[in-house]
Each structure stands twice: as structure tokens, then as C-alpha cells.
């Protein structure tokens, strides 16, 4: 091909004009159709200009090919009829069989070369009317084959009536030099290469136009999970606000720390098997393991009879109930351990700000908005003389970091906080107030038995990590976010989390 292209370009360079590419093909010894590909390609590169030349000629049909040597059907029929007495029709058919016989007899009769003699008795006989004929049809066919032009009327008759010849059209080209004519084609490059740079050919290299409408190739990469990206931002907000993270890496907890220490009575509905995963293995945490005996008795007593200014719940507190193991229903179980530690650490009480974000478990049916496990975000401040105003202040600080600047608070009930407040935020996007979390001050019945000083208060709040994440990313089914049914393409396409920027 390259040779053909070079030959063409050289011929054009020598002749300036190639009047007909058909001649060029002949001189190059190739079929014209082969040359057409080269012409088109050079034309697209604007190296040559090709003008169409339309061609027309007649060629023989398959039927006519035989007549070229054997003579036209009418000549064959004439020659088969002996001079003189002639021949019967049946005999003639036997001598010139098939279509040639039928057509030839009809033509010869029309030309008045033959006649039908019915004068004698018996069958009519075909007899010659002339002595000799000239086979004009055969001659015309020979002319077509020889490329000679036919008289128009005869050509049409042969093509249309007798279908012995057919028209044929084709194109060749008149070739002249194009604006980018050169003896050798320069192929435009698609990319800048090391070779071009080392040889310096990039300076003269032509570059193919770049398709700017397509997207680029995605980089090979891993991705972080959307919910955990949000978790990372929450962690930053907390630590920037001076909060210390609690060790929440312990899902198995005793009822004592999950409920009793929080002054949650043993008949509370949350302690129902319907709401909480109780464990058969390990089934219990013996009270003598890890809980100080005096503290345990203070907890029992505050449930049963009160104390520290409380009347208590007035029921018979069961040790066995407090020993039952469960999967923690809230990270506040961890807070209660941490607060106890804070009250009883060497050197005595010191103020603390704690946070955690970790899994909690509820024995619920899984649906679009509920999972049996989810992440709880929790923050608490433990210091002397804290007030409800401090809680409102710290909540405003925290939620404004999340972009929720307009808050209001609703009285609520929670067994271990008093006062308790539900946190609502006004969503400008949705045009309504939405509940965004829960908060309160831990009850004295929880704090005083731990040994925290009288003037120490604890303000705390909590929310789920999943809900704000679902709102943030427009996810309406929690299973699309957390669990094995997550869509990997969602994870891959998820943008970075801007909370706390």
C-alpha cells in the first residue's frame, strides 16, 4: 500500500495532473478499486484533490457471451434450415434446441430470412427466403466487447428488448495536488512520546486533534467508605474541641454498666429481650469481677430506696439481672465506666471531655431505616458547676461545626438524664425543623454512687452517625450505606466529606 501511495504521489509530482486515475491504475498494473483506497486516504489528508470522472459502457450479458462465437440465435436458426425444400418445425427445434431456437426462429421470421411454406401436403415446412444473411447482432456484440460505440437505437434494442447487453457505470478520478501535497505522507501523532522528545521531532510533528468531549481514564485507586469518611470528620471536630476519645472497642457489656449504673430500672422496656441482644455465651459478668462491691451496693440502694436526694424506684433490685451480658445498646455504657474511672482515679477527680463514635446494637428487624447495629456518636463534658446553659452552648458549638447553626430544644425524657433535651435543627433545604440528636445532664442517682463530687455535673449528647450521613449523601436505604449489600460503585464515586471544613 505504501508503495502504491508513493507511486501515486511520484506520478502526480511528475505530471502535475493525472487526468484519469483509471489510466494510472492500468499503468501501475493494479485494479482501479485498489487505487481508490489510497486516493481517498490521501484526499482526507488534503495531500491530493480528486475530481470524479463518471464512466459508462455496455457489457455483454451472460446469455450473449455464447452468441459472440456461435452467432446470434437468428443466424444459427437460418443456417440450420437447408436451402430448397426446407425443414419441418420439429426438425428445426431438434437442430437448434432451447431458447436460442425459439428466439432465433422468431427473429429470423421478422427479418424475413425464413418463411413457412404450407402449400405442400402434410406438415408446413420452414424454407429460406433469402440465399445468404449478414449476422448484424453478432457483429454488434463483437463491437461491445471491443469497446466500440454502438448506434444508439441498436444499443437500446439489444439492452432493453433482447437483454443481450447491459449498461455499466464506474468512477475514476482526475487527480491534482492538494494543499498539503508532499512526496511522503506525514501521519499526525496522537500523543507526545519520549522518542519525539529525544529526537526533537515534536517540533515538526503534526498532532491529531484531541477529542475533548470524552472523559479521561479513571485513575486506578482504592477508596474509603462514605460512612467512615464522615466518622473521620466527626473525630476531627471532637478532638479540635478538646475532647478525648473513649476506648469503645468492647461490644460485650454487662447489664450493670449498660443499664444499672445509669439508673435505668430493671423493669425498663429497653431491658426487654425485644429490644436488647442478650447473650447465652458469655452469659454473665459475675458482679465480683470488675465492679467494686461498695459501688455495687450503692447502685442497688439508689435503685431500691434512693439516696443522694432521690426517692429511688422502690423495687427489689436483682443482682442476677445486673450480671446478664448483652451487646451494648448505647456507648453510654462506656461513658458510665469512664465516669466511674474518673471519680476513682489516683489523684482524685479531674475534669474531662470525652467522645466516642462506635457501634451499638438493638434487637430490631432490619428495614430501610433500621439496622440491628449502627454507630452512635457521643460527647460528654464532666466538670464542676456545669449548667444546662453549658450544654446548650456546647451543642451550638458542636452542631455549627456540622453546618447546623439554628438549633432549638424540646423537653424530653431519658432515664439517666435530667434535664433532658431533644435537639432540633432547622433545615433551610427542607424548610423544616428536624430532630438531630438527644442530650441531657446525667442524673445524680447515676453520678453520686460512682463517687463523683457533689458539685460535678455531666452534660452529654448523642446522635447516630448513619442518619446525618444519609441526609448528607441523599441515601434513603440504610442498607445501601452499612452492610454487605453496599454498592461498590456508590463507595467509589462518593465525594470527600466536607463536614467540619
Amino acid at each position: 500500500m505504501a508503495d502504491l501511495e508513493t507511486s501515486l504521489l511520484q506520478a502526480l509530482h511528475a505530471q502535475e495532473v493525472i487526468a484519469d486515475s483509471g489510466d494510472l491504475a492500468k499503468s501501475l498494473g493494479v485494479e482501479h478499486i485498489v487505487l481508490v483506497g489510497t486516493i481517498r486516504s490521501l484526499q482526507a489528508s488534503e495531500m491530493i484533490i480528486a475530481e470524479d470522472i463518471d464512466h459508462f459502457r455496455y457489457v455483454l450479458t451472460d446469455e450473449a457471451q455464447g452468441y459472440l462465437t456461435a452467432g446470434s440465435p437468428e443466424a444459427q436458426v437460418f443456417n440450420a434450415v437447408p436451402a430448397g425444400e426446407g425443414i419441418t418445425l420439429a426438425e428445426l427445434k431438434a437442430r437448434v434446441p432451447g431458447e436460442a431456437g425459439d428466439v432465433g426462429f422468431k427473429q429470423a421470421m421478422q427479418q424475413r430470412w425464413l418463411a413457412l411454406d404450407k402449400s405442400a401436403a402434410g406438415e408446413p415446412r420452414v424454407v429460406r427466403k433469402v440465399d445468404a444473411i449478414e449476422d448484424r447482432t453478432q457483429q454488434l456484440l463483437a463491437d461491445v466487447t471491443g469497446g466500440r460505440e454502438l448506434p444508439k437505437a441498436e444499443a437500446e434494442s439489444l439492452a432493453k428488448k433482447r437483454k443481450l447487453i447491459k449498461p455499466e457505470q464506474w468512477k475514476t478520478y482526475k487527480l491534482t495536488k492538494g494543499p498539503k501535497f508532499a512526496l511522503e505522507r506525514k501521519k499526525p501523532a496522537t500523543d507526545l512520546t519520549f522518542e519525539m522528545m529525544s529526537k526533537g521531532t515534536w517540533r515538526t510533528q503534526e498532532f491529531k486533534d484531541y477529542n475533548f468531549n470524552a472523559l479521561g481514564v479513571p485513575p486506578p485507586s482504592g477508596q474509603l467508605h462514605p460512612l467512615l469518611k464522615v466518622r473521620s470528620q466527626f473525630r476531627k471536630i471532637f478532638t479540635q474541641m478538646g475532647f478525648e476519645e473513649m476506648p469503645t472497642n468492647q461490644y460485650v457489656e454487662s447489664s450493670f454498666w449498660n443499664f444499672d449504673a445509669l439508673f435505668q430500672p430493671q423493669q425498663h422496656p429497653a431491658r426487654d429481650a425485644h429490644d436488647t441482644f442478650f447473650l447465652t455465651k458469655p452469659a454473665n459478668t459475675p458482679a465480683d469481677r470488675g465492679v467494686d462491691k461498695d459501688y455495687l451496693n450503692r447502685v442497688k440502694s439508689v435503685h431500691e430506696m434512693g439516696g443522694y436526694g432521690s426517692v429511688g424506684y422502690g423495687y427489689s433490685w436483682k443482682l442476677a439481672e445486673s450480671e446478664k451480658n448483652l451487646l451494648r445498646t448505647h456507648t453510654t455504657a462506656v461513658s458510665s465506666r469512664m465516669l466511674y474511672r474518673l471519680a476513682n482515679q489516683p489523684g482524685g477527680f479531674k475534669p474531662a471531655k470525652y467522645f466516642s463514635i462506635d457501634r451499638v446494637f438493638r434487637n430490631e428487624q432490619v428495614d430501610r431505616t433500621h439496622l440491628a447495629e449502627f454507630h452512635q456518636v457521643e460527647g460528654l463534658v464532666c466538670d464542676r458547676g456545669l449548667t444546662l446553659g453549658d450544654l446548650i452552648g456546647v451543642l451550638n458549638q458542636f452542631f455549627s461545626r456540622l453546618g447546623l447553626k439554628k438549633l432549638r430544644f424540646k423537653p424530653a425524657f431519658n432515664p439517666y438524664t435530667e434535664p433532658s433535651m431533644e435537639i432540633f435543627s432547622y433545615s433551610e433545604q427542607l424548610g423544616k425543623w428536624m430532630e438531630v440528636g438527644n442530650s441531657g445532664m446525667f442524673r445524680p442517682e447515676m453520678l453520686r454512687p460512682m463517687g463523683l463530687p457533689e458539685d460535678v455535673n455531666v452534660i452529654a449528647w448523642g446522635l447516630s452517625l448513619e442518619r446525618p450521613t444519609m441526609i448528607l449523601y441523599g441515601i434513603d436505604n440504610i442498607r445501601d450505606l452499612f452492610g454487605h449489600k453496599v454498592s461498590l460503585s456508590m463507595v467509589r464515586k462518593n465525594p470527600l466529606c466536607r463536614l467540619g471544613l
Binding site: 472497642n249 468492647q250 441482644f277 451480658n325 475534669p351 434487637n363 458547676g385 446553659g389 433535651m421 453496599v486
Partner: protein
Amino acid sequence: MPTVGVNRDKLFEKLGKVYTDEEFDHLCFEYGIELDDVTSEKEMLRKELASTVAKGGDSKLAAEAAAASEEVIYKIDIPANRYDMLCVEGIARALNIFRGTQSSPQYNLADMTGKQPLQMVVKPETALVRPFVVCAVLRGIKFDPARYNSFIDLQDKLHQNLCRQRTLVAIGTHDLSTIQGPFTYEALPPEEIKFVPLKQTREFNAKELMQFYLENDQKLKKFVPIIHSSVVYPVLYDANRVVLSLPPIINGAHSAITLDTQDVFIECTATDLTKAKVVLNTVVTMFAEYASTPFTVEPVEVVDALGNRTLYPDLSYRSLTLTTDYVNSLLGLQLPGEEIVKLLTKMQVAAELGPDGKELLVQVPPTRSDILHACDVAEDVAIAHGYNNIPKRIPPTTTQGRELPLNQLTELLRAEIAMSGFTEVLTWALVSHAENFEFMRRPDDGITAVEIGNPATADFEVCRSSLLSSALKTLAANKDNALPIKLFEVSDAIVLDPSKSVGARNERRLVAVFCAKDSGFEVIHGLLNRVMEVLGVPYKEDPAAAGSPVTYHWSPSADPAMFPGRQAAIFTGDTQVGLFGIVHPEVLAAFEVPYPVSALELNLEPFVFNQFYESLLEPLST
């Protein structure tokens, strides 16, 4: 949180004011209750009907819906400790007092001078099954259909909440004119208790009645187990051996209250006396507003098995002393004593200021069983003052922010693994037993996994002791993704550990899987090497490892979850900390993963150390 449905117009009638939904919603918000839904009986039935359409509809329901009232019903969420707001009477009373349009009623016992109160005599056998009973009488009640329904609904709501589905307390109410004291509270073998129960026309003995309810009554059958296995059943009789009730299941038909009932006898039997008293107080204080002498209740004398006599209900007001300083310092306010007294009045709590102007002598009414401590009084002050009127302050507490080292390392490592081309997933800690063991071809040795006793679904039978099953589930759920799929997760596995006080511990682990047409074993091996590289832990055989206090190495292993000959255990020192290899095809088949998978699971906790190789693990409990 209980939800109470009240007729809106009846409520507004009691409030003496018509609110828009928005206005009422706002009032609820201020008080700490919540207008959850605005509906009607007709609409509720219509919704129920719509849900049955798929099943061919319910013609009875359709007829009910057509005939149902279109009157607007407010569904109101009530805080779980405000039993005095579980009926329209209580809600209206609380809101009226809050708005200052009504003063708190004084709840009284009827003056019984010269009269012998009705008696309830408790037999010792009741201690075997349901030891307590408390009673009261409401005289001259005027019922109408709305009040009657509210009376029944309140008992229902109490049974569902405070009474814990009748296990702790059960309420029986009776038309006093049909029965005669003294009454007895007994416990008898079920065959000996014979009566016509409510809604039935023939006599049953208690044993056959339990069977009857188990077989025929959807509502009552769930209460049968409370006494079913007891040798004796609790029962209340009147002086003529008429059965009042078989608590906590059903009342007798004989003493049923009707719209015409005027004198109502109320008994609450219980396993918890404190709650029985609260329940009785709630019923009588709410409905005493319809008594001939409003807010006055006739007491009943309960004679316990030891012969001790106690008058019920106990409508005494509990005294509580606190100071204005306490209230103000808890709330961050500087309210004068008079203002605090005024605010408490709005919350049905009467208070008096002591001579020093600082002491607050508070009278807690019998309706407010939720007030246990001075902090509850302070909260009432805050609600009446308005939470949103409390000035905010930033706590002065200065502390240092700090991440848990284990979690900080997790954050750092997650980013590194994502940089290595793996996509992070986040899966559940709860799995089925089969997913943790059988699917993994790992036998349950009984000392590995934490087991749940009462899972709501079979998907959550154990806590995963390995993260790999969750990663395989994720692969199975994402089969249509282009290969290779590279996933990782850094989460906690949970394992039994008798050395821990709770008997189990979390273990922070990394799991990574590579899934393609070929196993990609070398990819996972390479990830292990990379993870160790970023952890700064050299391979034992590496010359650079000389002198490093921590190194790692691997050696061929035989874990049943992995393909034989294509797996290795990972060690640091002599301790195995992980495993990598090609996952066994039978494991993949069990999880329905059609392609080969290579996996790595690694315990990260041995690598939680600082630059001096000091461990930074800080367990919550020992």
C-alpha cells in the same frame, strides 16, 4: 414513647381554645410532648383497609370504615415517665395548668369519719403468684361514651407501659353496685375458680378458660403465660363469692362497668407494689374529675396477710426541699425565688419559698410519680421557663483533645490501604452461625464466638469471630462488578476470652480480599508486605530486620477455610497474628462467590505501639 390518640375537638373543648395544628404543635414542643399525627378514625380504618386490598379486601373493615367517624384525632407522643398524660383528661389538665388557665387540683381522700371503708383482705397464698393488691372507689362518676372510652383506653395504655404488659400490675374496674364488700384477694388452684368471664356467656373454670384464650383469643392469649404455670391463680371475690376478676387476665362479667355505672371499684394487683400504687393513683386522679365531688377518692382498706391495714390510694403529697441556688446553678439561670415558684405552679408542682428566700419547699402531687429528685423539679422550672430562653455558655472546661491510639492507627492504616488500590467496605458484626462456622469450613469449638440468646432474625446468631465471612458476603452481593475486585475493612472481630471480666473482647483486625479470574495470591501477599512496611515492621529474614524489636514472618498453614498448599500463617515473634491465602473453593461456593478469591486477615493490636515500640492499647475493662 407511648402515643395517645385523642379527639381533637374534645381536647380543644377542655382547653377552652381552638388551635391550628401548627399552634398546637408549638405548644406541645414547649411542653415536651409531640403532635405525631393528625388523622381520624375513618382515615385510620381506610389505611388499614388499603393494606388489606392486596389480600382481596375485608368487607367487614370496609363497612366499619364507611361508618367510622371523621372527627379529627390527634396522635400525641407522651414521654415514657408521664403516666398522668396517657389520656385526654391528663393532657388537657397538664396543658391548662401550663398555660395558666386552670390551677392544679387538690387530690383528696373522701372523709370517712364515722364510716367504715370497704375492705380488701389478702390471703397469704397470693404471695406465691402475685402478692400485692391496692384498691380505690370513685363515687358518682358520670360517664358518657367519650369518657367511658377514655377510661378503657387509659387502662390499656397503662397496661402496655408502666404495667409491662400486665406482668407488674393489672387493673380491674367494676360497677360497685353489683358487688358487695368485704372483698378477698386469694390464690386458688385453677380448677376451683369458676365464673362467667367478661364477653362470655357461660361459666368456665380458670384452667379451661386459659386453654380457651390460648386457642381463641389473639389479644388475651399473650397474657396467659404470666400465670399459666403457677399452681395457684390469683382471684378476687366479693362477700358473696362473686368473682371480680382473674388477674392479670380477665374480669368477671358480673361486675362489668357500663355507661350507667356511677360508683366504680378499682383494684390493681401486682408483683411490684410501688408501681401498683402509681397505677392506682393515675387512674383515680385522672377520672376523679368526673366524680360527684371532683378530685375526691374514696379509700379502700387493704388487710395484708399479716393483718396490717393500709388505706389506698395514697394520695399524699410528697415534700421535697431544695434551694433556688440549686435550681439556678443547674440551669445556668438567675431566677428569683418567686419566679421559680410561679414556674413550678405551671408544672402542677406547688412550692413555697422559705424565710431566707432561697429555700424551696415543694409539694409533689400524687400524679407526678416521675419526680424522684430535686433535679426533676429543676427540669420543670426549665420547661416552664422555656429551654430556648436559657442563655448559652461555653463550658469553661479546658482539656486536651486526643484520639484513642488504636483508632488513630486505624485511621492512618485505612488511608494507606486505600492508597494501595483497595476499596473500603463496612459490614455488620452480627452474622449467622453458619456464616461464621459451617460456610467457612471451620468447626465451632464452642470457645470462639459470642452467642446471642434472643435474636429477632436468624441472620444475627453470633458475633463474627473473623472478618473474612463479611468480606465474602460483600463480594457475593457485588458479583456484577468488573474484575478484579479489591476490598478491605478494618473493624473489630469479637472473641470469647475468659480472662476478661465480661468474658469476651474485641480485636481490631484488617481483612482484605482480591477477587478475579485468577486467585491473585501474590497480590494479597504483596498487600501484607506493604501493610507491614507502612507499620514499620520488617520481614524477619530481611537484613534490615536485625535489631528491630518487632518483625514478622509467615509459614505454611492448614486453615480449613483456605486452599491447601496456598496459605500461610503470619507471625510476629512466636505469636500468630493472621493468615493469608487462597480461599477454599467450598467456602466460596457456600457464599456464592463464583470467582477465585485470595484473602488476608490480620490482627492489628500487636502493632499499636508508638515510635518507641511501647504498646498503646488501653482496654476499657480488664
